[in-house]
Amino acid sequence: MSDSAPRIGVVSFPGSNDDRDAAWALRALGAEPVPVWHADPALPELAAVVLPGGFSYGDYLRCGAIARFSPIMRAVGSFAEAGGLVLGICNGFQILTEAGLLPGVLRPNASLSFVCRDVRVRIERNDLPFTTRAAVGDELTIPVKHGEGCWFADDALLAELDGNHQIVLRYAAGENPNGAVADVAGVCNEAGNVLGLMPHPEHAVDPLLGSADGAVLLSSLVDAARLSAASLV
């Protein structure tokens, strides 16, 4: 691994099941994935953190509601507050909303069915560390696989997020797989250093997997992580 491979943490919670795929994808895209355990009280030196998909704590109570009490989440919160890059995928997105690091909440799919298929998502802004390799309006094909991905915000919150340009990804017309309000597939915090999304970019980094569009997002993150790691030296 070259010196320029930025260290990106991948947190494993009890019930995470995409942590290895996330690590594999990050390595394939030039990062050095660093396994992080949910019970660790602190993060090692990292340029970014990924909260992967899965079913942390069996999705008890509400998805992500228990995982946010994991010791590592306090460290992730401080990391995010200090401007650190945090990406939450699927269950990771759910955890970030429950932890109050991202707005809204993920609810059971309107269909009540688990959905597992490719969806097209539209890039709404490309000035974020997660989207620099995309253009606004680009449509990426990335798989979703979730039972509770119906993002919800009330009208007031949605208007606020629209005003702040915090809606980063929307399902393309006719593609909304879960009933999410305003077709929202991914949102960021106000500062733009924390992003959560329901689609799984780590499952779409090689044409053999059906699409390599996920690499657009993850490579953007790796680029940004490399820059932020360089600035720390």
Binding site: L61, R62, A65, E98, G104, V105, R107, P108, N109, A110, S111, L112, C150, F152, A153, D154, L157, G179
Partner: protein, 76 residues
């Protein structure tokens, strides 16, 4: 503590239950599904206990964006 989806919030579980009840022949207008959390907690002062239960709901048991809650203390 009784936690349930706020009115106006899509409740797919409630809709599924509602349609099943109709299939059984019950003329229900609407069903909503929430959750009941029983806790045992020691305390002599009901208002202090209630205040603790409220904080439990606010901080963990209910998500205020989508859920409302009610608290019931045993009589006596």
């Amino acid at each position: 503590m009784l936690v349930r989806p706020k009115h106006g919030i899509l409740d797919p579980q409630g809709e599924a239950v509602e349609s099943s009840l109709r299939q059984l022949g019950f003329a229900v207008a609407e069903a909503r599904v929430g959750r009941l959390v029983d806790v045992e907690i020691d305390g002599d002062d009901p208002s202090a206990v209630r205040e603790q239960l409220e904080r439990m709901c606010e901080q963990l048991l209910a998500n205020p964006l989508i859920e409302s809650y009610e608290i019931e203390l045993p009589a006596g």
